[in-house]
Amino acid sequence: MAMDYREYILDHSRDPRNYGELEHPDVHCEDFNPLCGDQLAMDLQVESNCVTAVRFRGRGCAISQAAASMLTEMIEGKTVQEVIALGKDDVLEALGIPISPARTKCAFLSLRVLHRGLALAGLEKLTEDDEE
């Protein structure tokens, strides 16, 4: 299974969308990948059950940063329920390339941070899948 660094992935990693932080986030979480030290923080602003703004900051590989950038694009404007429903398949579909087993932690770092943040804010109950 060959991972293919497609142009749109490099574009997202070099020029990430929604990069930065929110001053008064309703949802905030940060975490790192203990295997490689990649770091990621995510802020969400939620108004009347809808994500009105999202920002992330992080440092890490192209896969983790592109996945985070793509995830923020998926989140913005969605209802909390829709965001809670986002899972690994959605991230893999957005990346659009096979992710080798050693790199799945990179691909899913932002997803994990998102769900933990929602749980910390009392908006979501974590499943085992989210904790992985």
Binding site: A2, Y5, G37, G60, C61, A62, R103
Partner: protein, 424 residues
């Protein structure tokens, strides 16, 4: 430490008796392909490959005389016991230990260091005592001492690392003046490749009244090691980094220290007498080897030692030194590539680097897929050292007796390909 003539041309890089190409024939894995390309294995610092002699020695045990040791009075158990004893003697001679009973078999370097921290540390380290470590330690030579300090109230101090990847020996001297009970440091950094002046540092620690633990996980596989000459108190290393199997490691210790130490783990084999409420301990080395040991792995390690002895550790060191010089030259020629650590005169066959802004994990994935090169990417279980250099991760290539200059050329091709993909 031996220094070498850095101008020795690669064309002369031949082993005394066997070429690298011939040596490679002994390693079945080196003929396999990954992603339709020949495997280029540049991660021996993480774990070395195994020669047929090691694999067959272990198979032979399982097929011909598999039995527990020190138990049966029957033929094959006696053969297994003799084979394990023989392996211990081989390892003892390999590091020039006076007696084979000073070689304790463990699972790996980590367990060896934990054994010292729990057993010797538990008996000898008290509140307020000082333990001196360095900033370049692998987590395995850091966390056991943190745990010991937490249990006892001892203090930890650290020898800093200079920008060129060397220990600040001036500060080491200052720390020794505070009369530490224990000094623990790595003989060779698994990140920077730095070979520390262990013999002098040990002598200085002894003069200050300290006991010394040397993390030799990276040095025993790659350099000639003489524990008598080093005069080291404890030395820890792993089998799998020196052509041997996983699951077997060694703790060498001075006999008087080992004899005075309480057991680490309790169980079968480590006892002399057992009653319901008390027991007495077996002699060395078995006092520290509770339960059925890794018999096949010990035999495999013995075969690895035979293999390395046949090549000669001076030859091993020389070959890796030549590969390191060649690789440093080739890598330095790539614009945008930054190398961490000292020059080749103080470095083993380990090179950590960054290429432009490409994350090491992306680099490792591209090298794997595009040119079949296996390197390590990450913090190399040395996060404090990474922080010292302001890094989250590096890419790391490392060399062993089977590394060819052409493999380093393929690494360089792969790095240029990565630059192309990332538009640098």
């Amino acid at each position: 430490m031996t220094t070498f003539d850095d101008t020795l041309p690669i064309a002369q890089a031949k082993h005394a008796t066997r070429s690298t190409e011939e040596i490679r024939q002994d390693f079945p894995i080196l003929s396999r392909q990954v992603h339709d390309r020949p495997l280029v294995y540049l991660d021996s610092t993480a774990s070395s490959q195994k020669p047929t002699a090691v694999i067959e020695a272990m198979n032979h045990y399982y097929q011909a005389y598999n039995a527990n040791i020190h138990r049966g009075v029957y033929q094959i158990s006696e053969e297994a016991t003799a084979a394990m004893d023989k392996a211990r003697v081989k390892v003892a001679r390999f590091i020039n230990a006076r007696q084979s009973k000073q070689v304790i078999f463990t699972r790996n370097t980590t367990e060896s260091i934990n054994l010292v921290a729990y057993s010797w540390g538990g008996a000898n380290i008290h509140a307020g005592d000082l333990i001196v470590l360095t900033e370049m330690e692998h987590h395995s030579n850091l966390v056991p001492w943190q745990l010991l300090a937490q249990r006892t109230g001892a203090h930890l101090e650290f020898v800093p690392v200079s920008d060129d990847g060397l220990l600040r020996l001036d500060i080491y001297q200052q720390l020794l003046q505070r009369q530490p009970k224990l000094v623990a440091f790595t003989h060779m950094s698994n990140v920077l490749g730095t070979i520390n002046p262990a013999k002098a540092m040990i002598a200085q620690a002894h003069a200050a009244g300290a006991i010394v633990v040397l993390d030799a996980a990276q040095s025993v596989p790659h350099l000639p090691i003489d524990v008598e000459d080093l005069n080291v108190d404890f030395l820890a290393f792993s089998g799998h980094k020196m052509l041997g199997p996983t699951g077997i490691g060694v703790l060498y210790g001075k006999r008087a220290l080992l004899e005075a130490m309480p057991p680490f783990m309790g169980g079968g084999d480590m006892i002399r007498t057992v009653h319901l409420r008390e027991s007495t301990w077996n002699d060395l080395p078995w006092k520290f080897e509770a339960g059925t040991p890794a018999i096949a792995e010990a035999i495999g390690l013995g075969a690895a030692v035979d293999y390395l002895n046949e090549l000669g550790m001076a030859t091993v060191q020389q070959h890796e030194h030549e590969m390191t010089i060649y690789a440093l030259e080739q890598l330095q020629a790539i614009s945008g590539l930054k190398i961490y650590g000292p020059d080749a005169s103080q470095r083993g066959g380990v090179i950590s680097f960054l290429l432009d802004d490409i994350h090491p994990h992306d680099l490792a994935s591209i090298l794997d897929q595009e040119v079949g090169v296996a390197i390590r990417a990450g913090h190399h279980c040395a996060r404090p050292l990474m922080e010292r250099f302001g890094l989250a991760a590096t890419a790391r290539a490392s060399f062993y007796i089977y590394t060819l200059p052409t493999e380093i050329d393929i690494l360089v091709q792969g790095l240029r390909k990565a630059q192309h993909i990332f538009h640098f």
